[in-house]
Amino acid sequence: MNDTATLRYGVSLYSYTGDMNTVLTLDDAMAHIADLGATGIEILGEGNIPGYPTPSTGWIDSWHAGLARHGLEATNYGSWIDSRMWRERDLTVAEGAAMLARDLRLASTLGFTSVRPKVGVVSADLRPHPIWEPVIERNLDLAAELGIVICPEIHAPTPIRHPVVDDYLSFIERTGTSSFRILIDTGIFQRAVTTVKHDGLSEEAIEEGWRKPLAVPMEDLVAVLPYVAFVQAKFFDIDDELNDPHIPWREILRTLIEHGYDGYLSSEYEGDRAPYRSIEQVRRQHTLLRRLEREIRAKA
């Protein structure tokens, strides 16, 4: 048991999808996150930055003022490299590299320490478009200069033991970089089917993405944990007794604590998008995670 490592808690604004801009301002969201005793705020760059990719200096100032006022730090910045941006051709490496560079600079301006790029996928098991490797390699020096870690996410239906992850780890080995790591989305540990429905997604996407529990074993997490820079604490529904029927939080936390993970757990609520529901669900998750952490450390 590694007692010196501390878990850090945060929330991704993705949790508040649908509530942002309709019932929550950015300042409201920051206040909710701070009220949990959490310290980290994660954003989706193009989703949460007004005027993206060129926010006004006034907005940038208000972002930093908000962090200071609520006692929060900027954690992870989600970016996209839309490889299918054009109907008649794929994105080129140069175009993709320019997009990532733009997001790295913007993330740095806003104080983020990691950037999760999502490149368009070319298969149902989420193999990224092959431009991913040269696009990221061209940005490693910039990321190092800005003090940012680039970390693509491992997301269902891609498990940890998979060529996508093997390729990422080989990339780290080949380049010797410390500016590239992986991000784990806890949806890969899902053990039970969820019935959540999201507007605008095909049945196939819902079936592949949510209903089919991937149930990745904890030993696989242990194997890659030295390369994990960030954890998105994906969940769908926690009842009022604080039971999560889908994600095995006790096992996940025990594994992270025993193996000395000292990074963030950043809430990603992905359940029903009824107004205000996200706020209550994130509160339940933080209460649950902190209770489990106390229990696990008490038994150590």
Partner: protein, 130 residues
């Protein structure tokens, strides 16, 4: 703040061009979780009662610039942002007649506007547009 429904009630009105009503407009909230580059927009088909307009017909106004669907697909640097509704202009000389209606409209799962009612809301679009 925007309204929760994808089809916003604010901004819905007939549009007067050169003294004549050229059609009507409505504001649409971006339905996904991250916004989208305009070149990726498929378009929006509109139905009001038994009148229909296919996805190629409406004009889009994003960030102060107005585009056809073909122009959107070729555009660079234009986005449909989460906090900036798109203004959809539907060409319809004479516009929609003012009438009372059931409100709110049902917002569908994709940006396809299909108001249940056969009439626009109980405002006077031709007056509001001036």
């Amino acid at each position: 703040m925007l309204e929760r429904e994808l089809i916003q009630s604010r901004g819905f009105r007939n549009v007067v061009t050169g003294g004549d009503i050229a059609g009507f407009q409505l504001l649409l909230r971006m339905p996904n979780y991250r916004g989208v580059w305009a070149s990726l927009i498929d378009g929006v088909a509109v139905r009001v009662g038994d009148r229909q307009w296919d996805a190629e017909q409406p004009l889009w106004t994003l960030q102060g610039r107005t585009f056809t669907i073909a122009e959107l697909r070729a555009s660079t640097g234009v986005r449909w942002q989460l906090d900036e509704p798109a203004t959809i202009f539907v060409p319809h000389p004479g516009g929609l007649a003012p009438a009372s209606t059931t409100w709110p409209w049902t917002s569908p799962s994709t940006p396809r506007t299909s108001p249940r009612s056969s009439s626009p809301p109980s405002s006077t679009p031709s007056e509001r547009s001036r």
